[in-house]
Subunit: 490 residues, 2 copies
Amino acid sequence: MSHFETLKGLMADVQALDSAIALLDWDQQTYMPRGGAEARANHLEALSKMRHELFTSEAVQNAIANARPESEDEQALIRVIRRDLDLATKLPTELVARKTKLSAVAHEEWVRARSANDFASFSPTLEKMFDICKEEAECLGYTDHIYDALTDQYEEGATAADWRAMFEAIKGPQVELVKAIQERGPVDDSCLYGEWDRAKQSAFTEKLVTAIGFDFNRGRQDTAPHPFCTGWSVGDIRLTTRYKPYIGSAIFGSLHEAGHGMYEQGSPAAWDLTSLAGGVSLGLHESQSRTWENIVGRSKAFWSYFLPDLQKSFPELGQLTLDEFYKLINKVEPSLIRVEADELTYNLHVMVRFEIECDVLSEKLAVKDMPEAWNAKYEQYLGIRPGTDSEGCLQDVHWSMGSIGYFPTYSMGNILSYQIWNALSRDVKDPFDKIANGDFAPILGWLQENMYSKGKKYTPKELVQRMTGESINPKYYLEGLEAKYREIYF
Amino acid sequence: MSHFETLKGLMADVQALDSAIALLDWDQQTYMPRGGAEARANHLEALSKMRHELFTSEAVQNAIANARPESEDEQALIRVIRRDLDLATKLPTELVARKTKLSAVAHEEWVRARSANDFASFSPTLEKMFDICKEEAECLGYTDHIYDALTDQYEEGATAADWRAMFEAIKGPQVELVKAIQERGPVDDSCLYGEWDRAKQSAFTEKLVTAIGFDFNRGRQDTAPHPFCTGWSVGDIRLTTRYKPYIGSAIFGSLHEAGHGMYEQGSPAAWDLTSLAGGVSLGLHESQSRTWENIVGRSKAFWSYFLPDLQKSFPELGQLTLDEFYKLINKVEPSLIRVEADELTYNLHVMVRFEIECDVLSEKLAVKDMPEAWNAKYEQYLGIRPGTDSEGCLQDVHWSMGSIGYFPTYSMGNILSYQIWNALSRDVKDPFDKIANGDFAPILGWLQENMYSKGKKYTPKELVQRMTGESINPKYYLEGLEAKYREIYF
């Protein structure tokens, strides 16, 4: 057997363990009874350890060192596995264990601190977490900024300089646009809040995501506290959504997750169950989901097609005109909580987190002074100031888990979503006319051809270049938002 | 670390893999989209191989050879692991692989043959399967009958002689009782067939199984084509049920599976996630499930309490009196299909299979002549003759999978269910009065104390002795059926 074949065999075992871990996780978030939590944690820990040991074993390292790829695809496959293996081996087991242990403690402390609005008690542990992340960064290595090592784990090739340039480009125009909209006075979307029947919401969202192209023969949709998408093969990709008083929660949550789902369902069958299958990075995964959710799903064309259906399922909404509904689902209002933010203000939330992460890592800001820095930035960018740390710097789970360098991928997704749409619009004629007719095939087809079918073959930066003809460029995002919201609000 | 501690650590990893395999299997039967089947088969195969390699590794074998148990429980734990390890190591990997491969082929051929009513085309493959099982038996070893080696895999310590004695004891009286009932003329239970609302069936069965003691904080109930029970810890035990035109399918299926579920939920917390937790054998698992399903769930007392509820959920049944309903759910009628058989005729179906398995293994019967032998036995014991092999010797999946020696555990369960009830009735005063008041706690309490809390600590035969004061004795079963059905029919 060639080293390449040996590698494939070993990776199939790694993949089987990944598949088990993914199912234990999916089940935990969807169906597992409360009493199962303790055993589930034990089993996940044991399987993750087995996975790590197998993946970083001498056998895998030998096979990859000696594998001779015979095609471009095989080359790409080796590149992807080698990158994952690098990330998995550069961190000493002792450090990984220490971080896992601290995460467990920090997560509990964070839950308590958030509910008690008590940053001071959490601050020493958070400081330790930042210190461990700095150690991680030193092990992973970087040439320019310490942030680069951390963020590369989530977005291959991305650097602090990339993110800074990205945020610098959008900061001024976004803050200004949000301010201008604020001056137009509040929008009352209270009619979108109510006690909506769950079964009807489920049926309606399944209809929507089927229409845009998610294949239920190769997937399903369930309910979970925090929507996510996960999968086991191109034949089994699962979405989750949630039902809240705001009717848009399920609708836009489902459309967003269906974007992730279609990306995963769109991997070439030949790459199924290999490391080449699936979306290439967090930022790119997010980008096309935002395209579906915001550019397609929050468009007037989309609702000119679906509003009658929605009103049939929920007669309480029957009095709304298309223009009214369109304005309501595109309501812009600076708010304190990121996960509830609208399309326009979302990136400002992320920017606050990015700037704080950089400042803490480069020791310009002490962890204990984070609340003041956070609140000042919210005032500066969003014009509002958290009354408590619970609705301020304690709101997100990420830092307690040591996921530092993760947040900017959300903004990258938002920005690229418009860049993708711009590229798509050069090839697909009048896409909004097609949407208004319920014809999503040309849009899905373009994404399939230019993005989904590429799996992880190219690096994220290469893929952006191939797909859109240039590297990430905030211009389309700024122009898109400007055009959309000026039309709605002015 | 002591060898005993090492063993526990290794077994925790084996257990994590078992847990993953169980979840992949549960998911496949409940929620997995069609497209996931191929990848799921790959992942299950890889994980099962890992599980086998880990469990039979030198590390486990060394640890168990040198482990020094320090208590009765530790002794029992080692005994159970050693037995499993014996079964896992006595069969050469080559033989296991050959059987797995033949099973896959045989299963497909069986599906085709059953649907085409074509035993002849399946016969050569089935002959190969019996041959492989004979090889297995030689590897496993036996002193008396070749059947002993095979059946011991499913029911520790059971032998062909045990089963023969069991069937000999019941054959005459059962055949006679069924004949006598037949002569009373047919019972029309067509009013129990209809298009019953699934959500209402689900709610009603959940109410029933909650009432008898299944704990939904530590479990759930889902839908699957063939009802089963599975679990991950005492905190997470899951039932499945199914919804059919016959309203009893869901009701008695749920009660039966809840029996299995309560047995698993009742293991001592201290043994959770070890090989001592859970039911001790197939036959004993089945026995107490039959107690709940047939003796409790098909009693007049049970429905004197629950019939009003049932009629509230399904007003179509509103005209039935308690006596009428009781007779309908205890309808006896010889039929061709085992899985649809009533309580009274069920064991006659199993007897046919046991006798044929013995005859084929001891080469008194050629596989190709199986249909004639089958049909003659149905005529002799049940008074009816299959018109086709599809409703004859092709009806069950077991033989295509090489599960030879499995069937008698069903009958053992039926017979013990009455023996258990007899023992329970010595301690629990007037159990049917309690049932009629919806008070199931004394019954569950007795089973918990005398059976569930023992886990796998004793061998099945020891447990029967401890629980009932004697070894398996068909007397209680025969007397119980006689009393019940004479009361209904004469």
